[in-house]
C-alpha cells in the first residue's frame, strides 16, 4: 500500500474492506436517525424537561459519532482507496457519481460540525455530553444571532444531505436491478456480478 503522497501507483482494491463496509452502513443508519430525532427533540414540550434534554443529547451523540465515522472512512479511503468504477459505466454517470460522493462526504463533515456550533451558540447554554457522560467543551459562547443563522444552515444542509443520501440509495438499487455489483460489493464485499 502506498504511503502518504504517492497513492497513484497502486492498483485500486478489488472490493471494499470489511471496515469500509461497516462504516458505510453505520453512517447510513445513523444519519436518518439523527435527522428524524432532530424534529422530535425540537417539538418535544419544554415541560418534559428531562426527556427533551435526553433527546438533544442523543442527537448530539449521533452527530459526533457520524463525524468520527466519516473521518475514519476518509482515512481508510485515502490509505486504501476504493474499488474501480465498472468499466462499462457511461462516463457521465461515473462523473456524476464521483461528484455526488464528494458532496456527500462534504455534507457528512459539515452537518455535524455546524451542529456542534449550533449547540455551542444556543442561548439555553446546555452543554454537549457525548453518550450523556463525556462533556464536549464548547469553544464559542452562546450567541443568539449566530445561533439563528447556524441553526438555519445546519437544517438546510442536513436536509440536503438526507435527500442526496436517499438519491444515492435509489441509484445503488437501480444499479443493482440492472445487474451491477454496486450494492452487493458494499453489502458483502463480493465482486462477483449477479447472474443476469
Amino acid at each position: 500500500m502506498p504511503d502518504d503522497g504517492a497513492p497513484a501507483a497502486a492498483p485500486p482494491p478489488v472490493s471494499w474492506s470489511r471496515a469500509q463496509r461497516r462504516l458505510h452502513w453505520w453512517t447510513a443508519v445513523l444519519i436518518p436517525c439523527g435527522f428524524l430525532l432532530a424534529f422530535v427533540m425540537v417539538a418535544w414540550p419544554l415541560s418534559d424537561l428531562l426527556l427533551k434534554f435526553l433527546l438533544y443529547q442523543a442527537h448530539k451523540t449521533i452527530g459526533l459519532t457520524v463525524l468520527v465515522l466519516v473521518l475514519w472512512r476518509l482515512l481508510l479511503r485515502a490509505r486504501r482507496g476504493r474499488p474501480a468504477a465498472d468499466p462499462d459505466l457511461p462516463p457521465w454517470q461515473a462523473r456524476a457519481a464521483h461528484i455526488g460522493h464528494l458532496v456527500l462526504y462534504g455534507l457528512m463533515l459539515a452537518v455535524p460540525v455546524l451542529g456542534y456550533f449550533v449547540a455551542a451558540t444556543a442561548p439555553a447554554g446546555v452543554p454537549t455530553l457525548f453518550l450523556l457522560v463525556i462533556p464536549v467543551p464548547h469553544v464559542v459562547a452562546p450567541d443568539e444571532a449566530a445561533f439563528g443563522v447556524l441553526r438555519a444552515v445546519h437544517l438546510s444542509l442536513a436536509t440536503l444531505l438526507v435527500v442526496l443520501a436517499a438519491g444515492h440509495a435509489v441509484m445503488a438499487v437501480q444499479h443493482h436491478r440492472r445487474g451491477r455489483t454496486t450494492l452487493l460489493r458494499m453489502w458483502r464485499g463480493a465482486a462477483t456480478p449477479p447472474v443476469r
Partner: protein, 198 residues
C-alpha cells in the same frame, strides 16, 4: 430575596460604626447596584442560573441595640431574567414561581449576628409561592469605598445562602433540576457619612 435581606442587614451592621446617632436609622437598599442571582444544578452535570432584577429593600439599624437590626426585602417576581428567554417563561409558569398567583416574594430578617469582622449571619423568613420558610443567609462585607456621590461612602456586600425549592412547593422536574438552589446576592449600601460622622 434572601440575599437582599441579608444585604440590608449587612448594611445596617456596617452603618453602625459609621453613624453616630443613637436612634435607629433606616436605609433604603440601592438596587441599582444589586442583583439577586440563583444557580441550580441540572442532571448533576451542569448548572443554569438566573436573577431577579427588581426589588425594594429597607434596612433599619439601631446602634444602641444591634440585635434589633431589621431587613425587609420585597422582590418583584416578574423581573425574573435568564440568559435564555424560554427558560424564564418556564420559570414564571405555574410549576415553578407561579408568578400569576404570587407576583411578589419577601424576605424579612429575624436576627442578625456578627460572626467575625465584616461577616454576618442573617436569619430570616422567606415567603415564596405563598409559603413562608426559615432561611439562613451569610453576608460578607467585601468593600467600602468612597461613593460617586461626594462625601458619601459605599459598602458592598455579598450575601450567600441556599434553599430547598421543594420546601416552597416547587417540585417540578426533580429528575433534571436539583432541589437545592444556591443564592448569591450583590448589594451596595450608600452611607451618607458626612451627616452621621461623629
Amino acid at each position: 430575596m434572601r440575599r437582599r435581606t441579608a444585604i440590608g442587614i449587612l448594611i445596617a451592621l456596617l452603618l453602625g460604626p459609621v453613624g453616630s446617632a443613637g436612634a435607629a436609622e433606616s436605609y433604603d437598599i440601592d438596587q441599582r447596584f444589586g442583583a439577586i442571582a440563583f444557580t441550580v444544578r441540572n442532571f448533576g452535570m451542569f448548572h443554569t442560573d438566573g436573577s431577579f432584577r427588581r426589588f425594594t429593600g429597607h434596612l433599619t439599624i439601631d446602634e444602641a441595640h444591634p440585635g434589633n437590626t431589621h431587613v425587609l426585602v420585597v422582590i418583584d417576581m416578574t423581573s425574573l431574567a435568564t440568559r435564555w428567554a424560554e427558560a424564564a417563561n418556564m420559570l414564571r409558569g405555574e410549576t415553578y414561581f407561579d408568578i400569576a398567583h404570587f407576583p411578589q416574594a419577601q424576605f424579612e430578617s429575624v436576627s442578625v449576628t456578627l460572626t467575625a469582622p465584616g461577616q454576618y449571619d442573617v436569619a430570616g423568613r422567606l415567603t415564596l409561592r405563598g409559603v413562608t420558610q426559615p432561611i439562613l443567609l451569610h453576608a460578607a462585607l467585601i468593600d467600602r469605598h468612597p461613593s460617586a456621590t461626594p462625601g458619601a461612602e459605599d459598602a458592598d456586600f455579598v450575601i450567600t445562602g441556599d434553599l430547598r425549592r421543594s420546601a416552597f412547593g416547587m417540585t417540578a422536574d426533580r429528575t433534571f433540576v436539583a432541589d437545592r438552589v444556591d443564592l448569591r446576592i450583590n448589594a451596595r449600601i450608600r452611607l451618607e457619612a458626612p451627616s452621621h460622622a461623629g
